[in-house]
């Protein structure tokens, strides 16, 4: 590509950016207003997109670094050979890369391309949003007076993620858990040539092509459900030790709030719901919610996601109920 061609392409990109700014600047002057419910659906959906966007972009950048810039065999050198010990270490990677759950999806994709097995990537994906320093600090700040919540969250997250990893390590063909589209992307990535910078930009584009539509769809679904489902139905179940666990798991699934701050969100319901219900919320929410399922669907088959959701749901509910019995 000649220097002139490069300038033309950069100019086209800059022109599109300028056009989008111009449209954004001009249209609000038209005074378009929507009915309340429709307006709130739009506001909630945009809120989820804007809140998730930096984490998704950070996750994609980390995925690029892992795949293109880290030396081949890097993880094999530093991780144990024993599969269980290896998954246990992988579930602690979030302590070094605190990206939040939506950013972990592109990072997990990068790790698979880099040689992680599917069960290992699932272990990382489920554990990292909980076992990371920001989540630990915010949970401690929110529930410092009730240490059982922080301990149960960390231990529960570790056990659930490693149990899922162990279960899928027994799968006869783990690669069948991946979507055909992502499997093809892995093939393309393995045969890519060119400088590291060119490969990095190409991978960035491929990841945004996979992740951004999922983020938009997940945000629209989360916004839509929040607009439709009345929250007082869930709150009314708060006093029952069993129903409160299920109600807060349902709330976690719907709200799709970031794991880094979900402790502050649920703190405001602390006087209404049982301790076990809060533990279930803090364990289930970072692993499975509407937005996460849309993002994970870029990588894993629907069947796999249904299985993982049910398993995580059952284990989170069991954890919450156990806390309710013991506390």
């Amino acid at each position: 590509m000649t220097g002139r061609q490069l300038l033309v392409r950069i100019g086209i990109g800059a022109g599109i950016v300028g056009a989008l700014f111009a449209v954004r600047a001009f249209i609000p002057g038209l005074g378009l207003t929507l009915p309340n419910r429709m307006q709130d659906f739009v506001t909630l959906s945009i809120s989820v997109i804007v809140e998730s966007l930096p984490f998704v972009l950070l996750g994609i950048v980390l995925a690029v670094i892992v795949q293109v810039w880290l030396p081949a065999g890097f993880f094999d050198r530093i991780l144990p050979k024993n599969p269980a010990a290896r998954r246990a270490c992988i579930s602690l990677i979030g302590m070094l890369l605190p990206v939040c759950e939506c950013g972990n999806v592109p990072l997990a994709r990068g790790l698979i391309i880099r040689g992680f097995t599917v069960p290992e990537s699932l272990t990382f994906l489920l554990a990292a949003p909980i076992l990371n320093p920001i989540t630990i600090i915010t949970t401690q700040q929110a529930f410092g007076g009730d240490p059982i919540i922080l301990v149960a969250r960390l231990v529960g997250g570790f056990v659930i993620a490693n149990t899922i990893g162990w279960l899928y390590s027994r799968h006869p063909a783990p690669d069948a858990l991946l979507t055909p589209g992502f499997a093809r992307e892995c093939e393309v990535a393995h045969h890519e040539s060119g400088s590291r910078m060119v490969r990095s930009l190409a991978m960035f584009v491929r990841e945004t092509t996979g992740i951004m539509p999922a983020l938009i769809i997940g945000s629209l679904v989360a916004g839509g459900i929040q607009t439709i489902v009345p929250r007082d139905v869930l709150v009314a179940l708060g006093s029952n030790p069993v129903w409160s666990v299920l109600a807060l798991m349902a709330l976690a699934f719907v709200v799709s709030v970031c794991s880094n701050v979900d402790a502050f969100f649920i703190l405001s319901f602390g006087g209404i719901f049982s301790t076990g219900a809060i533990v279930s919320f803090l364990t289930f929410g970072p692993m499975i919610d509407v937005k996460m399922l849309a993002l994970m669907r870029t990588t894993f088959t629907t069947k796999t996601l249904v299985q993982v959701s049910v398993l995580v749901g059952l284990m989170s509910a069991a954890l919450g109920l156990a806390v309710n019995v013991l506390v």
Partner: protein
Amino acid sequence: MKQRWIGVILTLAACVATVWFWANGDLGLYVHPRYFVFTVIAAVVGIVVVVASFVVRVPSEDAASGGAARRAWRRVVSVGVVVACVFGAGALVLLPPATLTSATADQRSVNSGTVVGSGAAQATGDTADYGVKEWATALRQSTDLQGIAGSSATLTGFVSADPDDPENVFFVTRFFVTCCAADAQPVGVPVYQPDWKSSVKLDEWVEVSGAFDLNPSVKSRQPMVLVPQQVTAVDEPSDPYVY
């Protein structure tokens, strides 16, 4: 259209909208101010990287395999994805920024959560600086409502109806935000004003001055209400949420 443009356009739409919201003071309608710096830096970096990516050729994937029924199903899914993406990008770039309305306040039930912070204690100290969040919390958690009776307050918020007595009681309402608008919880102070709909409108931003007293309404479940001396329509504040 090549597939690569879907991710590029969506990323640019989201990043440009984010920077634009911030530049116009509207980013607070969507995320907590503590995330402004991180969000805007990420959006600017996103724009730069996407523009830089225009110089590379991205290898296209092989065509999807499978039978006719599977290909038809994929086509249906693809159309659905494109429609959702166009709607999402359109909402980001075309629709005017807006705060949450009384519809969400009703749907999430005003004061259904317990806001933690100032006002969580008994409202017996200096309440001069109390806003909607602090008074709502004090009214909910105080065990000495008689002690609150007679206290005066001036509060600003939007109007949402008390579902138990929508003719005579409305809430001066704000949304309490932890992270983003998706987790916003409505908090409100009940105001007793018979036939309030004749003077103020649902969703209208008002400043209410008055004193607290026991609720004369027989239908409302709010034990204590603000009895207004003055209700004035005001502009929506630049930061409509409370934290």
